[in-house]
Symmetry: D2
């Protein structure tokens, strides 16, 4: 099987259920005018590779596909009576405010839904013990928020008890919840949907995936990622300048990416001055003749008096295996920080071999994630919000709005969160990184 | 038939030939190591809509598809003997230097091709009568050019006689030409390929489509477009500020887009403060009760004391029909400039109805197109260059490197240039613009 | 006499009155705590050149000086009863919102003045016939406005009848007016102060000079200028890219500066890629052997295949003298626009001499002036606002807050507006421009 | 005595020698044409306060003054035979490349000096044992370097033996050295000048002060400072967004400023969202009722759910006094890092009092200092370079080019480096910070 955008399924692909849950039959006419409705049987093929498509067909099976998002001719929720909650969870990400603005604007103007509530500070805003009540959102209030990074609703990490949250939703008479967040948030959203189902309530739970790392399964793009790449590429310019400013100067830029190195890889391609790019998907060797330290030493020895190294925060975790125990006493933060680890080991190494060099360390994550969404990323946010509203009004639930080959789709939350998307290190993205950086050696095994 | 990304073919779709010409059989082993080669029979379906795919299959036909770009295991040109020419033509566009850098870097490092020539100032640099000779390009020379807008090679408009150009190519012993340019340039490239074929020469002509308007047929994305949207969205902020700064202030922003309004539409979505977005694909009415002027008047009368109008340069050409003759005497520039036309007519109208207002006019095209490529757009440039080199080395010719559903493809030049891609005004893009702007009236017919 | 920062006086310098009018004796204790008060007899010397200072002293005269701005120990207006109006007039300028925020914040927190009114759309907001009433300003309302260009109050050009305006001020019980605007606005403010004096009212009129051209007499710096230079320098990069992108490419950037070329001169120094900088203070020759056209021709002939020309809008007005009548028939717009004029004449010239070249024209004024104030310019706005409040509370009137050798001062409106500040073409600024551009010839007389 | 811009002298002011050393009598005619020469007796008063000026005069003394910089009619070095060295030392600072470009351009075009050498990597480039020789600088080579941060020459910290360096200078036949650097560099430059004097050589040593902290004595502005404030203000926006994104979110931004808090103070004024600004000049109390922790607690208790704190790296050193010994075991880095210290103590405190909050820490120094100089800061660099060349060609030595009340001056190195410039906490700058932040309590003593 050929996988073009890597994805995984919990079971065999041909037994995977891609269908979307609903809370009821859509029977009302959509108030939307002048738009072409998307037919409920419009599905986007998971594959575009003709060989793959023909392989399925030769087995008399349809290639697996995702429901196409978009406005439905028939909707479930009556706009006049619909009450909506919007909640943003987890770490900041460019575009949160764009999504909020988009949701409010499409609900208000396209559907005529005028009861929209912002849940403050993530799921905890659904906990009745929390001091801050939901606030009413209107188009005026959100008119210019897309200029600013962050989220006007505030955010928080961690889930709350689904029972308590459903109690709150029922007390507030909320019919649709738009939950903007990552893995954990979406799992919480799934738990919410389950609890609602148990209680037989008519509340739609629509997830809007937020992962700055762009690592959601079955979703080829998440909002904020593009803007983050843009900002990360700018910091790489600073790192390049610092590296060149000192004799044998090395700049290390740590970027987001616990499990997947998309930001590091993209940023290294967006600003092709990076010499070394390290991601979690591709283990590397530090010591020995085939290791990174030796590669750096050779680079300096050849008269290249600077180097720029970009590292995803989750890269090189294998290097900590032996290390962990040794340093446990002094707190466990340093162990897992590959940035600090590299700085320390590289300094040590060059001191030992008596080669003068200097290291500058950049940790720009907060600066990157707190910026606003830009350009086409902002458009993506608006369209995500649009399609989330369409899905919610049509009575869908327990799903996220995704993108597949650039088309908006509906994906069951359980599939989107079953595994993280990762860089295919034999695919075109990583090939381009290898080509642009000319790096190689330290990815070989050490033998 | 359902068309997801609008495209056209010169004849019936099922009789269209999507195959790529070659100048010879690729028989040499690729020097590339550590990358997964793309199989020659890997093709990307033109459709992802399952209904469409099944319709073709039910007719016992494969859905039409494009050859997938990427590194080939067997190549045609021997790197050691290969001499390459790179030429940039037409108006500036963000990313030209990124493409040049990418071509040089991939040729040099991945294939070991070290004879790379920059043709100065477009096709005229292939005219022996031109004063500037080609210059040698090396990785060092192009190392930091991706930071800058424009093209280090210079550019020019217009084609040269293909015979003269092939003479020059033969004199220079060039084996692959990378021609970066728009419609006209690519048609020139096709003529080159034809002339080469006639002479039975082994010179590959690989087009890299450059259209800031993103209007190339069968290509879902062109480089520089994303960065242009980004810059255009920034200017819209300025326009918004100016509009709000004056009582009944109207800012008019003219953006690129002679035949297709993609930049105008995207920019209006990227910065959702636009109230009116006019594109060539959707004619509008100026006068009368259902016209734009009246709509503006109503807006001001409602106490909305500002408005932002974005107009693609090719919008409203219908309005010039009667006008042309009247104004012919004073030069023909003003007639076809929709920006000036709108400024004049709107001022006149409000003067006539004695409503105070003011107009500010923005024409930022040169500023937008001369900027550098940013973030993911820069990556796109690098990957385009990569895939262009792969195609050229494999002996392909008379083709452009395109993108379809986000995957790099080979497209015959004749198909890519047979017609322009346009906004589908019943599709999701224009729907999003209508939703975000809340505009409507003046697109109805006047009756 | 040596003049370091050029300035003019209506009469002989030693007979000029630099004292500031007041509406009454300051007798109340300032509520400000923890700041060092500025003594009323603290004056800033107009000169720092020791030779100049000693010349005055040798004549037994004090060198002329300006009252130093800052918090006074004794104030006139009782904060509890003070009602303030803020009005912004004329074209946009970076920093207007910073000034408004600063005024509100200092009035509210430092003095405890809580009745602050924003006058909408310039002086016309003081005309009772205007539809928009003043709105109440609070710290919360202005909290984040400094991020945005423009003015939240709106603006308009032109003055209103002082009598009507004073009627309105009296009806609103306003005690201090902060008028932010240029020459015309300040003259209007002076008329207001005169009318108030006639009526023996206790209303302070404090001008905050806003001239993006930085051309106010006796004021060495005006807000927004620095940010404008910054933005203009960025556009010059675009112009440089466009110029280099074409064979014999010439980019012409028209910048603000009707009477004084400060923005053009500063921008040319801030981005030293400018080859030609034309300002109103230095007439230039177009035709003939010593003219600009010939100089350009020589530049291209030498193989320099591009040029960047920056021109202040008021430059070269001498060239229109003969021209005006000739072109009167085709409308009077082209005559006075030096940008269009240069484009047309240069194109003509090179066509005539049959040298290929191309011209790109940039007119970025709206983009520049609608941006926000940045960095130290934003600080300057805050401090201007601070000092304006101090002056107003102390009972000063008919004055502007200025800056002299970097220190905040009080300047009588009549002196600040008696003449425009201009570039001294024998001084260090213009010398630096000549040094950086290497231009020379066309400034000689033609003979 | 009133000090307007704070400065110190090693001895009593009236006995301080402000005169500039020379290496010989300037007797050659300057080749500069069309500029007004600065007379050697043009001096800039250290004071503009008329009371101060009159106090000196009443004592029959001239107020102290600095030599005015600028082109001299008579110069010492013969351009045809002059060989120049340029060296950049210490940490990066915006504008280094602008200064280098300015020096080369003015030397080459204005004086005709064509032997200009770039000393690589600071003073170590003058050590004959260092592997990198000086490289020749030409206008072409430096033409576009002003767009980039950093220094094309590279830099290094620390001084070399003056004897060795003078040996090298003599071997290279260098006549003027432009040393761009901070305190330490300038002291090294003074040592060079002394050694040269001893050997009776005719080598001018001209310092160009580079201190991103803007803390040089008798110099009211240093290059790069303005651009740093601009960049720091942008990071404060990020910090504000992060703070507001979390419940009781606190963002801490550590900025440069070991001894002087100018960047922290200016940045807090440039982006008036800062709630707490801590600088070295103003000690603060952490614990107790009047302390910072309690102030933060009160802020959160009042329902202000976020805070932005800016701290100069040298602030709060008093807090480490007791602390040092306690933490010595776990390494000495944390002790002196006020940022880490605050993060740790604040987290502890709120944990102890059981108030939920979260801290985000920003350390953007490398990003700030590696950016390019912008706008008026770039102009300042050009003019500094101009005036440095004028001084060098005139035969001055052992001096820096400074700025006083906005005018370029000559300052003896020993005076410029005798003490650091610091914020006057009773002056207008700190007053503005107090006004804009509304902070107060924790600066009182604890009692």
């Amino acid at each position: 099987m050929i996988i073009e955008i890597p994805f995984r399924c919990p079971g065999p692909l041909d037994q995977t259920d891609f269908s979307i849950a609903t809370i009821g039959e859509p029977t009302l006419d959509s108030p939307i005018r002048g738009q072409r409705f998307i037919s409920p049987d419009h599905r986007v093929s998971l594959f575009t590779d003709m060989r793959e498509i023909k392989e399925w067909i030769s087995k008399d099976q349809d290639p697996p596909s995702l429901e196409r998002a978009g406005p439905r001719e028939k909707i479930f929720h009556d706009p006049a009576w619909t009450r909506v909650g919007i909640v943003t969870c987890g770490g900041l990400c460019p575009g949160l405010n764009n999504v909020i603005k988009g949701l409010v604007q499409v609900l208000w103007f396209d559907y005529g839904v005028k009861n929209i509530f912002g849940i403050p500070y993530g799921y905890r805003g659904l906990n009745p013990s929390f001091s801050h009540p939901p606030e009413i959102l209107t188009p005026d209030l959100v008119d210019s928020i897309h200029d600013d990074g962050g989220t006007i609703l505030g955010s928080s990490r961690g889930n709350q008890d689904p029972k308590t949250m459903v109690d709150t939703l029922m007390r507030l008479n909320i019919n649709i919840v738009f939950a903007v967040g990552g893995d954990g948030t979406l799992r919480g959203a799934h738990d919410l949907a389950e609890e609602i189902k148990k209680r037989n309530q008519r509340i739609s739970i629509i997830g809007i995936p937020k992962t700055i790392d762009n690592d959601l399964n079955l979703v080829d793009r998440t909002f904020g990622f593009e803007s983050s790449v843009y900002s990360a590429a700018e910091v790489i310019t600073n790192a390049h300048v610092e590296a060149k400013g000192a004799f044998n100067g090395l700049s290390i830029v740590k970027l987001m990416g616990r499990d997947s190195g998309f930001i590091a890889a993209y940023a290294s391609l967006a600003n092709t001055v990076v010499n070394i790019c390290l991601v979690p998907e591709q283990p590397f060797v530090l010591e020995g003749n085939g290791g990174l330290l030796k590669a750096l030493e050779r680079r300096f020895a050849k008269g290249k008096t600077h180097a720029v190294l970009v590292v995803a925060e989750g890269a090189g975790q294998n290097l900590f295996e032996g290390v962990t125990e040794q340093k446990d006493a002094s707190g466990n933060i340093l162990h897992h920080d590959i940035g600090d680890f590299l700085v320390a080991h590289i300094k040590d190494y060059f001191k030992k071999i008596n080669v003068e060099m200097s290291v500058k360390y950049f940790d720009p994550s907060y600066i990157i994630r707190s910026g606003p969404a830009r350009g086409t990323d902002a458009i993506f946010c608006y369209q995500l919000a649009e399609n989330a509203v369409h899905a919610g009004m049509a009575g869908k639930t327990d799903m996220v709005v995704g993108s597949w080959f650039g088309q908006f789709t509906h994906v069951p939350i359980t599939l989107a969160t079953c595994e993280r998307k990762k860089i295919d290190v034999t695919g075109p993205l990583w090939n381009a990184v290898l080509s642009a950086t000319r790096q190689a050696d330290y990815f070989k095994s050490e033998k």
